[in-house]
C-alpha cells in the first residue's frame, strides 16, 4: 500500500518557479487557496450586485455614481432600468450559487483539507486538479465578460428558464450574447466541477493512509466525499442541458422552444420544443446543487463544533448516515421547484413526499448538534460562534421549507419574497456562516498565523444580527404577497411595504460593510497575525499533526498511520483532553 502511494502521488517535485508555485500549481493546497480566492472575489462582486438591487428597490430614482460607465444602456445616468435590475439579479444568483457556494466550502476547503485529513500527499490526479481550477476560472471570466458587452448580462435569472432564455435577443436585453456567455460559462463550470468531483472521489477511495478506514474519516471529509458523488452526477446532467440550450440558441434546434411562440411581435422560427424539459433538466441538477452547497457546510460545522465542544458529538456516525440519506433523497425532489410550472398535480404530490422526508435526516443532524451542546465545555471563539450561527440559520431557514414543500401552500408563496427568505437563509447565508467558521478555524493551518479574535467576534455579531434583520422580514413580505423579481413596488398594496424594504436595505448595506472587517482581518492576519503552532485548537484529526502551514508534500517523508476515530475529545490523554488520530496511545472503550 505504502509502495503504491509513493509511486502514485507527488510524482511532481516541489515547483520552483513563480508560475509553477502559485499559478499553475499541482499542489492541492495552492489549488484550494485559489478556489477560495476566486470565491472571495465572487462573493464581493455578488454582494455589491445585491447592494445595487436593494438600493434601487427603495430609492428607484436615485443616481448611482459611476454605474453608467459599466452599464450605459442598463443604467443611463446612473439610474437602474427594470431590465438591468434583472441582469443584476441573474448575475448575483449565478455568482453566488456557482462561484461562491460551490467553490468555497467544497472545492476550496475540500481541496486543501481532504488529502491531509485522510493522510495523502496530494490528490489522486494533481494535473486534473489544476485543470479543474483553471477551467472554473475561465468560466468566471466568460461570465463576467457579460457585464462589458454592449447588450449587458442576461435577464433570465440564475435558472435561465426556457423558452425566453433559448430564443435570443427578441426576449429582451442581455438575451443575445449575454445569455450565450452565461450558457457557455456554466457549461465550462460543469467541466471543472466534474474533474474536481472525480478527483475527490478517487482520492478518498484510493489514497487513505494506513489505518484510515472509511469510518475513521472526519465528518468534513465524509461531507466532501458525499458532495463530490452528488456533484459528479448533477453536473453531468447540467452540462448536456447547457449543450441543448446552446444548440437551441445558436444552431436553430427546438429542444425547449414550443410551436407558435410569438415574442416581441415576432413568430419564432422553432417548433415542438418543451419549455418544461429545461426545468426538469435544470432542477434535476439544481436541487442536488443545494446539497452541494450545504453538505460541505454541515461537514465543516460538525468538524469545528466537535473541536469547540471538547467532546465527541452524540453520534458522528449518525450524522454521516444522515448526510448519505440527504444525498440519496436529493435525486427525488427536483419537482418541488416546479409546483407552479403546470406539471401534473399528482406529480407535485409525488415530489412533495420525499421533500418532506428529507427533513428527517436534516432534523436528526440538527438534534445531534444541539444535544451535543449539553454539558460541553464550549470554547468561545469566532470559529465556534460561526458554527453555532450556522445551526441557527439552518434551522430558521429550514423551518420555512416545511411550508414550501407542500404544493398547496407553495402555489401561494412561490413567486413571493417568502421563497427568497427561505433559500437565502437555509442555503446561502448558512453556507456562508460555515465558510466563515472554516476560515477562522483553519486559517492558522493554512497560513501559519492566527486571525484576530476581537475583529472576528465583531464580524460575527454584526453579520449574525444583520442577517436576521435582512432575511426574516422577507418571510413576512412573502406572506403578505410581495412578489419577487420585480424592480419596483409602486402598485396596489406594495407602497405600504416600503418602510420594511428600507429597513432591509439599510441592514443589507450595514451587514455587507461588516464583511470588510473580515476582509481586513484576513489580509492583515496573513502578514501580521500572531504565529500559529501546529495545533492551536488542540485538534485530533490529521491536519493538526503537520506543521502550519504544511510542507509541500504534507507529511514530509513519513507516511502517517491512523490509530483512532477522528474525534477523541474529553479524555485524559498524555497531551491534554484529547488524543490525536496518529497517536498510538491506547484508548479504553473505543
Amino acid at each position: 500500500m505504502e509502495e503504491a502511494l509513493k509511486s502514485q502521488v507527488h510524482e511532481h517535485a516541489p515547483a520552483q518557479s513563480f508560475l509553477g508555485k502559485y499559478v499553475f500549481s499541482l499542489d492541492h493546497k495552492v489549488i484550494g487557496k485559489q478556489y477560495y480566492a476566486l470565491a472571495l472575489v465572487s462573493v464581493f462582486v455578488g454582494m455589491v450586485l445585491s447592494w445595487l438591487m436593494r438600493f434601487h428597490l427603495v430609492w428607484p430614482n436615485a443616481k448611482i455614481p459611476g454605474l453608467a460607465l459599466i452599464a450605459k444602456t442598463g443604467a443611463p445616468g446612473g439610474i437602474i432600468t427594470p431590465e438591468y435590475y434583472l441582469s443584476l439579479l441573474t448575475m448575483h444568483g449565478t455568482l453566488m450559487v456557482f462561484f461562491v457556494l460551490t467553490n468555497a466550502p467544497f472545492a476550496g476547503f475540500g481541496n486543501y483539507f481532504l488529502p491531509i485529513q485522510i493522510g495523502a500527499e496530494d490528490m489522486a490526479f494533481p494535473r486534473f486538479n489544476m485543470m479543474s481550477f483553471w477551467t472554473t476560472f475561465v468560466a468566471f471570466v466568460v461570465l463576467i465578460t457579460a457585464f462589458f458587452i454592449p447588450d449587458g448580462p442576461p435577464i433570465s435569472g440564475w435558472t435561465a428558464y426556457a423558452p425566453l432564455s433559448a430564443i435570443g435577443k427578441d426576449a429582451g436585453p442581455g438575451l443575445g450574447w449575454g445569455q450565450n456567455l452565461w450558457v457557455i460559462a456554466i457549461g465550462i463550470f460543469c467541466i471543472g466541477q466534474l474533474l474536481g468531483s472525480l478527483n475527490f472521489i478517487a482520492t478518498t477511495l484510493d489514497l487513505r493512509a494506513k489505518g484510515m478506514t472509511l469510518m475513521r474519516m472526519p465528518i468534513s471529509t465524509w461531507a466532501w466525499f458525499i458532495t463530490s458523488s452528488i456533484g459528479l452526477l448533477a453536473f453531468a446532467v447540467l452540462l448536456p442541458a447547457c449543450v441543448l440550450l446552446l444548440l437551441d440558441r445558436m444552431a436553430g434546434t427546438s429542444f425547449f422552444i414550443p410551436s407558435g411562440l410569438v415574442v416581441s411581435d415576432r413568430l419564432q422560427n422553432h417548433a415542438g420544443g418543451s419549455p418544461l424539459l429545461w426545468q426538469h433538466l435544470f432542477w434535476f441538477f439544481g436541487h442536488p446543487e443545494v446539497y452541494i452547497a450545504i453538505l460541505p457546510a454541515v461537514g465543516i460545522v460538525s468538524h469545528v463544533l466537535t473541536n469547540s465542544l471538547r467532546k465527541p458529538l452524540l453520534s458522528a456516525k449518525v450524522i454521516i448516515y444522515s448526510m448519505m440519506s440527504i444525498g440519496f433523497l436529493s435525486w427525488m425532489v427536483w419537482g418541488h421547484h416546479m409546483f407552479v410550472s403546470g406539471m401534473n398535480p399528482f406529480s407535485s404530490l409525488l415530489f412533495s413526499f420525499p421533500t418532506l422526508t428529507i427533513t428527517i435526516p436534516a432534523t436528526i443532524i440538527t438534534l445531534i448538534w444541539l444535544g451535543s451542546l449539553y454539558g460541553a465545555n464550549i470554547q468561545i471563539n469566532s470559529a465556534s460562534f460561526f458554527a453555532l450561527g450556522f445551526i441557527s440559520m439552518f434551522v430558521s431557514g429550514g423551518v420555512s421549507g416545511f411550508f414550501l414543500a407542500q404544493p398547496s401552500i407553495d402555489i401561494y408563496l412561490h413567486a413571493t419574497y417568502f421563497v427568497v427568505g427561505h433559500f437565502h437563509m437555509v442555503m446561502g447565508v448558512a453556507a456562508i456562516f460555515a465558510i466563515f467558521a472554516g476560515t477562522y478555524f483553519w486559517f492558522p493551518k493554512m497560513t501559519g498565523r492566527m486571525m484576530n479574535e476581537t475583529l472576528g467576534m465583531l464580524h460575527f455579531w454584526i453579520t449574525f444580527v444583520g442577517t436576521y434583520c435582512i432575511f426574516m422580514p422577507f418571510h413576512y413580505l412573502g406572506l403578505v404577497g410581495n412578489v419577487r423579481r420585480y424592480a419596483s413596488f409602486v402598485d396596489d398594496f406594495m407602497p405600504a411595504l416600503m418602510p420594511l424594504h428600507k429597513f432591509i436595505t439599510i441592514a443589507a448595506l450595514t451587514t455587507g460593510a461588516a464583511q470588510f472587517i473580515f476582509l481586513f482581518n484576513l489580509i492583515h492576519s496573513r502578514f501580521r497575525g500572531k504565529p500559529a503552532s501546529a495545533n492551536p485548537w488542540k485538534g485530533t484529526s490529521l491536519e493538526w499533526s503537520v506543521p502550519s502551514p504544511p510542507p509541500w508534500n504534507n507529511f514530509g517523508r513519513e507516511h502517517p498511520v491512523v490509530y483512532h476515530d477522528p474525534y477523541q475529545y474529553g479524555l485524559k490523554g498524555s497531551t491534554g483532553d484529547f488524543v490525536m488520530q496518529t497517536s498510538p496511545e491506547q484508548i479504553l472503550n473505543e
Binding site: L232, V237, V243, A251, L281
Partner: protein, 198 residues
C-alpha cells in the same frame, strides 16, 4: 514492483500501482452514463410532441457497429497480452503493438463510419435543426463520437508508451480497456435508441 521488471531480457509488462487511472475511469463512467441518461430523458420528453417523425438509421451504422465491436475484441486481446501473469518475451513486443494499433485503426474507422452516416442524413436533407429526430441523431452520435475520439487519444498515448518506454502502467492500461469497452456498450445502447425511438 521488483527490479527485474526493468531488466532488458524480460520486457516490463506492467508497472505502477494497481489503482489511480483505473478508479478515475470507473468514476468518469458514472458521469458519462448520467449525461447520456439526461440526453435520453430529453428525447423521451421531446418525442411526445406532434412534430416527432422518424429517421431511418443509415445502414452504415450497422457496419460501424461491427467495426467498434471488433475493436473491442482487439482491445481485449491487447489487455490479455499485457496484463497476463506470465513473463513476456521481447519478441512479443511487435504483436502487442499490433493489437493496440488495430484497436486505434478500428476506432478511427468507426468514427469515419459515423461521418458517413451524417453525410447520408444530410443527403436526405436532414440537418441538425431540420426536425427533432435529426437533432437527436446528430446529438447522440456526435457526443458519442467525441468520447470515442477521447478514447483514441488515450490509446495513442498507450501505444507511444509501449513503443518508446517498452512498458505501460497497469492502471493506465486497465483504465483505457474499461473505457473502450464502455464506449462499445454505450454505442449498442444508442443504436437501440436510434433504431427504436428515432
Amino acid at each position: 514492483m521488483s527490479s527485474t521488471i526493468h531488466s532488458p531480457a524480460v520486457l516490463p509488462r506492467l508497472s505502477g500501482p494497481s489503482k489511480g487511472s483505473e478508479s478515475g475511469i470507473w468514476i468518469a463512467l458514472f458521469a458519462i452514463t448520467m449525461s447520456f441518461a439526461a440526453f435520453t430523458s430529453a428525447l423521451f420528453i421531446r418525442e411526445a410532441s406532434t412534430d416527432w417523425t422518424h429517421v431511418a438509421a443509415p445502414p452504415v451504422l450497422f457496419a460501424s457497429t461491427a467495426v467498434l465491436l471488433l475493436s473491442s475484441l482487439m482491445m481485449e486481446a491487447s489487455r490479455r497480452e499485457l496484463d497476463g501473469n506470465r513473463a513476456s518475451k521481447i519478441e512479443e513486443q511487435g504483436r502487442r503493438l499490433a493489437f493496440v494499433a488495430a484497436t486505434v485503426l478500428l476506432g478511427l474507422t468507426f468514427v469515419g463510419g459515423q461521418y458517413l452516416a451524417w453525410r447520408n442524413l444530410a443527403a436526405q436533407g436532414l440537418y441538425l435543426a431540420t426536425n427533432p429526430n435529426s437533432s437527436f441523431f446528430y446529438l447522440l452520435t456526435g457526443v458519442h463520437a467525441l468520447h470515442v475520439l477521447g478514447g483514441i487519444t488515450a490509446l495513442l498515448y498507450l501505444f507511444i508508451q509501449l513503443a518508446v518506454q517498452k512498458s505501460v502502467g497497469r492502471n493506465l492500461l486497465r483504465g483505457v480497456v474499461v473505457y473502450w469497452h464502455f464506449m462499445a456498450a454505450l454505442w449498442l445502447y444508442l443504436l437501440v435508441v436510434i433504431c427504436v425511438r428515432l
